[in-house]
C-alpha cells in the first residue's frame, strides 16, 4: 500500500500544486477583504469566474484578428492578464461601492447576505451574456500554450513513477508566484500597504492619522479582485473549459483555504490554498487504496474538510493566524 502511494506521488504533487495555486490566489482575495472589513465577500468566487470569462473573450477576440499567430504567447498572456485584472479590479471596486459601503455601519449578517446576492447576480448575468451567442453557456478557451512535459521521476528513485504535466502548469505556477510575491512586497513595503495594514488594525484611529479609509478599502477590493480575475484567466488557460458556475465550488474551497491558513493573514492564505489543493488531490488518488476500496475518490472533500476541522480544533485561529483579543 505504501509503495503504491509513493509511486504516484510526483504526479499527485504536480496536479495538487496546480489546483492549490488557484485556491491560494483566490483565498488572498477573501483574506484581504476580511482582514480589513471583517466581511466575508462571497461574491469573490464570482469575480474569479468573471475574470475567466473576460480573459476568454479577449483571447477569442485576439484569435479572430490573427494576433495570436503574430505575437509570442507570453506577450499575449501578459496583455490578457493585465486587461482582465484591471476589469475585474474595477468590478470589485464597483461591487464594494454599490453593495457594501452603504451597509457598512449595519450588522455583519446583512452585508453577508448582499454578498450572496451579488454572487447570484453575477452568475446569472454572465450566463445571460454567454447564452446570447449560441444558447450554451459552457465556453472553451482557445489554447495559448500547448505541449506536455514528462518528468522522469523514476530516474531519481526507482520507487517513483514518471509524471507528465502540461506547459500551462508552469505558467500557472510562475504567474501565481509572481502575484503572491508582488502582493507581499506591496503590503509590507509601500506607503499604501502600510495604510492598508493600519486600517485593518483600527479604522477609526487610522482615519485620525489622515488616512482616507474609504480609499484604502476601495484599493483593497481592487487588488483582491484583480488577483481573482487574473486567477480566472489562469484557470481558463489550464482547464480549457469554463462555465458561469465555476466560482461557487472553487470560491467555497478557497474560503476554506483562507480559514485553514488563518483568515486575515496573507501568507496563511497562500499556504492554506496550496495545502488544500495537495490534500484534495492526494485523497482523490489514494483514498480507495488506503481504505481498501471502502471509500472511493468521491470522498476527497470529506477527507480534506476533516483535516480542516482537526486543524481548527487544535488551532482555532488557523495555522498562521494570531490569536487576537476581540476589538471593542
Amino acid at each position: 500500500m505504501f509503495a503504491h502511494i509513493i509511486q504516484t506521488l510526483p504526479q499527485v504533487l504536480i496536479d495538487g500544486l496546480t489546483l492549490g495555486a488557484v485556491y491560494a490566489i483566490i483565498a488572498l482575495g477573501y483574506t484581504m477583504v476580511y482582514g480589513i472589513l471583517e466581511l466575508i465577500n462571497f461574491a469573490h468566487g464570482e469575480i474569479f469566474m468573471s475574470g475567466a470569462f473576460i480573459g476568454t473573450a479577449i483571447l477569442i477576440g485576439l484569435t479572430g484578428v490573427g494576433w495570436i499567430a503574430a505575437f509570442p504567447a507570453v506577450v499575449t498572456l501578459i496583455l490578457v492578464l493585465l486587461i482582465t485584472s484591471v476589469a475585474t479590479g474595477l468590478l470589485g471596486m464597483g461591487i464594494e461601492r454599490v453593495a457594501y459601503r452603504p451597509l457598512r455601519k449595519s450588522s455583519k449578517l446583512i452585508t453577508l447576505i448582499t454578498a450572496i446576492g451579488m454572487s447570484f447576480l453575477l452568475q446569472d448575468f454572465v450566463r445571460f451574456i454567454t447564452e446570447l451567442k449560441n444558447g450554451n453557456y459552457i465556453v472553451n478557451t482557445p489554447a495559448l500554450f500547448s505541449g506536455k512535459v514528462s518528468v522522469s521521476a523514476s530516474s531519481l528513485s526507482s520507487s517513483f513513477d514518471d509524471a507528465t504535466f502540461k506547459v500551462t502548469f508552469i505558467v500557472v505556477l510562475i504567474v501565481a508566484l509572481c502575484l503572491m510575491i508582488g502582493l507581499e512586497i506591496f503590503v509590507n513595503r509601500t506607503k499604501w500597504g502600510m495604510a492598508m495594514r493600519a486600517v485593518a488594525q483600527d479604522p477609526d484611529t487610522a482615519s485620525l492619522m489622515s488616512i482616507n479609509v474609504n480609499k484604502v478599502i476601495s484599493l483593497t477590493f481592487f487588488i483582491g479582485s484583480a488577483l481573482g480575475g487574473a486567477t480566472g484567466v489562469l484557470f481558463a488557460l489550464h482547464y480549457g473549459t469554463i462555465d458561469p458556475y465555476i466560482g461557487f465550488i472553487l470560491g467555497l474551497k478557497a474560503f476554506t483555504a483562507a480559514v485553514l491558513g488563518g483568515i486575515g493573514n496573507i501568507r496563511g492564505a497562500m499556504f492554506g490554498g496550496l495545502m488544500l489543493g495537495i490534500l484534495e488531490m492526494f485523497a482523490a488518488a489514494n483514498l480507495s487504496t488506503i481504505t481498501g476500496n471502502v471509500l472511493g475518490a468521491e470522498y476527497k472533500d470529506v477527507f480534506a474538510f476533516a483535516i480542516l476541522i482537526l486543524v481548527l480544533i487544535f488551532k482555532p485561529e488557523g495555522l498562521f493566524g494570531k490569536a487576537v483579543t476581540e476589538k471593542v
Binding site: 496546480t18 450554451n136 507528465t164 484557470f235 458556475y245 465550488i249 488531490m281 480507495s288
Partner: protein
C-alpha cells in the same frame, strides 16, 4: 397614532381584496375562451448544463405539434404548446408539474430529460391523470412504479448498461475496465448495470470511482486510472464532466478507449474534448436522425442542427397527439376526459414514428426501443453509428 394604523390596515385590506378579485376574474375569463384549446406541455431543461438537449426536445415537439395543427383544426380544436423549464432540477420539475396539473386545458406532457426529474414529477401527473411521454428518461424506476400516466419511447438503463458491456467485451475485447460515475441516479445506475454485466461477460473491473458534478479538475481519479492501465474506461454521467474527463485523460497520456452512455451524446462533448474525443464510444438510446426528412425540416425551421433527442421529442409528441385524437374520436368529437386520453395513449401498440417504432407495454415501456453504439473517429458530431442492439 391609532387612526394612522387603522388607515394603513384598511388600505392593505382594500388592496388585497382588489388583487384577489382581479386574479379571480382573470382565470374565469381564460377558461371561457379556452374550452376548445388543447394544450400540450413540454418539460425539459431550457437553461443549465443540459440546455442543449432540453432545447432539442422542445423544438422537436414543437415541430410535430405545428404539423398536426391542421388535423386538429378540422376536429374543432386548437393545439397549443406550453414549454416549461425544469432546469434539470427535481424541485423545479415538481413545481412546474403542479402548475400543469392546475391547468385543465393541458392534456399531455412531453418530458423530462433527466430521470431524476421525471420520477418525482410524474407522481403529480398521476394525481391529475395527465399522460406523460418521456423522450429521454432511461432509469428503471421511471416505469417500474407502474403508474398509468407514465410512458417512454426510449430503452431502459438496465438494457443500456449491459448492451454497452456486451459491446465492450465482445467487440472491443476489453479485459481490464475502469468505471467512473458521477454519483447521480442516472450515472450511478448506468455504471452499476455496466459493471455487473461486464463482470458476467468475463472482464475484470480494476476500479470503480466517483466524481462530483460541477467540478473541473478530475486529475485525482485519473491518476488512479493511469496507474491501473485499463483497456477501457467507462463513464456513467453527462457530457459536461465526460468531455473534461476525456480531455484531461488524454493530456495525462492515457490511451485507453473511453465509453459512456447516452448522457455523453451531445455536440458539446466534442466542443469540450476537442481532438481528444477520438476513440470514444457511446451507447445511446437515440438513433441517428441526421439523414431523415425530419432533420431537413428541423434545420429549415429552427436554423439549428438536430441533436440526439430532437427526433424523440418529435416522435413523442406525434404519439401523444395520436392518443388524444383517438380519444376525441371515441368521444364523438367532444372533448374527452383526462382519464380517456391517458388510456388512449397507453393503448398505442403500433405506431411508425420518424425514427422509432412505438408500442407501449403494460408498464409504459416501448417494446421496440433499441440501443445504438456510436464511435467518434474525428472531433465532429454526430458520431459514427457502429451498430444497434435490439431488446
Amino acid at each position: 397614532m391609532l387612526s394612522k394604523k387603522m388607515l394603513s390596515i384598511l388600505a392593505t385590506t382594500v388592496l388585497s381584496v382588489g388583487f384577489v378579485a382581479g386574479c379571480g376574474s382573470n382565470s374565469t375569463s381564460g377558461e371561457d375562451k379556452g374550452s376548445n384549446v388543447i394544450k400540450i406541455a413540454t418539460q425539459s431543461p431550457l437553461s443549465g448544463g443540459s440546455a442543449t438537449l432540453g432545447e432539442a426536445i422542445k423544438l422537436g415537439a414543437q415541430l410535430a405539434l405545428d404539423e398536426e395543427k391542421d388535423t386538429f383544426e378540422k376536429l374543432g380544436y386548437k393545439l397549443q404548446l406550453v414549454p416549461y423549464d425544469d432546469q434539470g432540477d427535481p424541485k423545479k420539475g415538481v413545481a412546474n408539474a403542479q402548475l400543469i396539473g392546475s391547468d385543465k386545458a393541458v392534456y399531455g406532457v412531453i418530458g423530462h430529460l433527466n430521470s431524476g426529474v421525471t420520477i418525482p414529477s410524474s407522481e403529480t401527473y398521476e394525481k391529475y391523470s395527465i399522460p406523460m411521454i418521456s423522450p429521454a428518461s432511461t432509469a428503471t424506476d421511471v416505469t417500474d412504479r407502474k403508474l398509468k400516466t407514465v410512458n417512454r419511447i426510449v430503452a431502459r438503463d438496465d438494457f443500456q448498461g449491459p448492451a454497452g458491456a456486451e459491446y465492450a467485451v465482445k467487440e472491443l475485447k476489453a479485459k481490464n475496465i475502469f468505471v467512473i460515475q458521477d454519483k447521480t441516479a442516472y450515472g450511478q445506475g448506468l455504471a452499476d448495470a455496466f459493471k455487473t454485466a461486464a463482470e458476467k461477460e468475463g472482464a475484470k473491473i480494476v476500479g470503480f470511482e466517483g466524481i462530483t458534478v460541477g467540478e473541473k479538475d478530475f486529475n485525482g481519479v485519473l491518476n488512479q486510472v493511469s496507474k491501473e492501465k485499463p483497456d477501457l474506461v467507462y463513464f456513467g454521467g453527462l457530457y459536461a464532466e465526460g468531455g473534461l474527463l476525456i480531455k484531461q485523460a488524454r493530456d495525462k497520456g492515457i490511451t485507453a478507449k473511453f465509453m459512456g452512455g447516452d448522457g455523453l451524446d451531445s455536440s458539446t462533448l466534442v466542443d469540450i474534448a476537442g481532438d481528444a474525443v477520438k476513440d470514444t464510444y457511446l451507447t445511446s438510446v437515440a438513433g441517428d436522425a441526421s439523414k431523415t426528412q425530419f432533420a431537413k425540416d428541423y434545420e429549415k425551421k429552427f436554423n439549428k442542427k438536430v441533436e440526439s433527442y430532437s427526433v424523440y421529442g418529435y416522435d413523442s409528441m406525434k404519439v401523444m397527439l395520436q392518443g388524444i385524437q383517438k380519444a376525441i374520436e371515441d368521444n364523438d368529437k367532444k372533448l374527452p376526459s383526462h382519464e380517456a386520453v391517458r388510456d388512449a395513449v397507453r393503448g398505442i401498440k403500433e405506431y411508425k414514428g420518424e425514427l422509432t417504432q412505438v408500442g407501449f407495454d403494460e408498464k409504459g415501456d416501448n417494446k421496440y426501443a433499441k440501443i445504438f453504439i456510436y464511435k467518434f473517429d474525428a472531433p465532429s458530431y454526430p458520431a459514427k453509428l457502429e451498430g444497434e442492439i435490439s431488446q
